[in-house]
């Protein structure tokens, strides 16, 4: 009798353990286990985070697209809703292209020659002057830091903007400017500041190696003017 009782309890207990074990084991054949080093694990989790944020932004985009489709569908009968929606989209595209003045938080800094180091004869002088390629490198850094709109001395930088060396002046969007060069960039001001101010970036190289001055300030309300030139599109047409 006593032995029977033990058996019953053991049986029940073992069933519970079995269920727990099978719950905990994955019988999924696709699950391949890999042992990662700390570095690999960090990289992988970083990648996971990035993918998740990408997914989130894609979901957001899907939502806006869906709501747009809905407005088109529901406003099919009234032309005004559709035109309003289209106008809004044109405005957004213009803003993205740089054809409208934009405002937002961002950073502002000015880059100028290291005048006190200039000797006006030596080949060294090259180092202490701001060149066109310096402007380009700074622009690249700004874009990499996530700047959404950039201007130099009031010239909006767009996809077709050009920067040339023109003797002592620098030609930006076809307009020649003397020093100093005032950069303004709209974006997350904390990100922009920390990125541009980090040691591996071009501005630090300018400061420590080339002795060129600059000082970044964050601005809450920055206005960047529109691009006022024209984009030539004589020869291009949409590819089919």
């Amino acid at each position: 009798m006593k032995n029977n009782e033990v058996n019953v309890f053991l049986f029940i207990a073992c069933i519970i353990i079995g269920i727990l074990i099978s719950m905990n084991m994955s019988f999924n054949k696709n699950a391949i286990r890999v042992v990662l080093s700390t570095k690999q694990y960090q990289d992988a989790s970083y990648e996971k985070l990035q993918l998740e944020s990408q997914i989130n932004s894609l979901i957001d985009e899907l939502k806006t697209m869906n709501s747009k489709v809905q407005t088109y569908d529901s406003g099919f009968n009234s032309t005004k809703t559709v035109t309003d929606e289209l106008n809004k989209e044109i405005q957004k595209n213009k803003m993205d292209l740089g054809y409208t003045a934009v405002t937002g938080e961002g950073i502002r800094f000015s880059v100028s020659d290291a005048s006190e180091y200039l000797k006006f004869s030596t080949a060294e002088d090259r180092n202490y002057i701001v060149h066109d390629y310096d402007i380009m490198n700074i622009l690249n850094d700004l874009k990499d830091a996530g700047a959404e709109a950039i201007s130099i001395n009031g010239q909006r930088i767009i996809s077709t903007s050009s920067i040339f060396c023109s003797e002592v002046l620098i030609d930006i969007n076809g307009v020649e400017f003397p020093k100093p060069f005032n950069f303004e960039a709209i974006g997350n001001k904390a990100t922009l500041l920390s990125y541009m101010d980090s040691d591996e970036n071009y501005l630090k190289y300018l400061r420590y190696v080339r002795k060129i001055h600059w000082d970044i300030e964050t601005v809450d309300n920055l206005t960047i003017p529109a691009y006022n030139g024209n984009i030539k599109s004589d020869k291009i047409s949409e590819a089919k």
């Binding site: 069933i15 727990l20 074990i21 905990n24």
Partner: protein, 112 residues
């Protein structure tokens, strides 16, 4: 024998119903399973030495499991691997119990 049958039955039930617990909880369940296994071995040993008591078994079975899982969770929150303590204690006891069971069974077979 009955234990092995029960274990197989439990695994089959678990697979058939395909209940998957969240990945975050799985380490705690593992520790709990270990505690339960320890209780089962203890019960086997007690039944062989004829002093099995159902109340002790049931309280130990569930109490140990909950305590082990709870300690493992607490350890995780505090940053100490407390589950190691559970694994060492229960692992040691399982081996002890198994040694006793083995001896008892061998004694029995020798008598016959």
């Amino acid at each position: 024998m009955i234990a092995v049958i029960g274990l197989l039955l439990g695994i089959i039930i678990g697979v058939l119903f395909d209940v998957n617990i969240p990945r975050e909880l799985s380490p705690y369940i593992s520790v709990a399973v270990f505690a339960c296994l320890d209780s089962v071995f203890g019960a086997l040993r007690a039944s062989l030495s004829k002093n099995f008591r159902s109340d002790i078994f049931i309280s130990g079975f569930f109490g140990n499991a909950v305590l082990a899982a709870g300690l493992a969770y607490l350890g995780d929150k505090l940053g100490i691997p407390v589950y190691l303590a559970a694994v060492i204690v229960f692992g040691g006891r399982i081996f002890n119990n198994f040694a006793v069971i083995r001896r008892a069974l061998l004694e029995k077979t020798r008598l016959h």
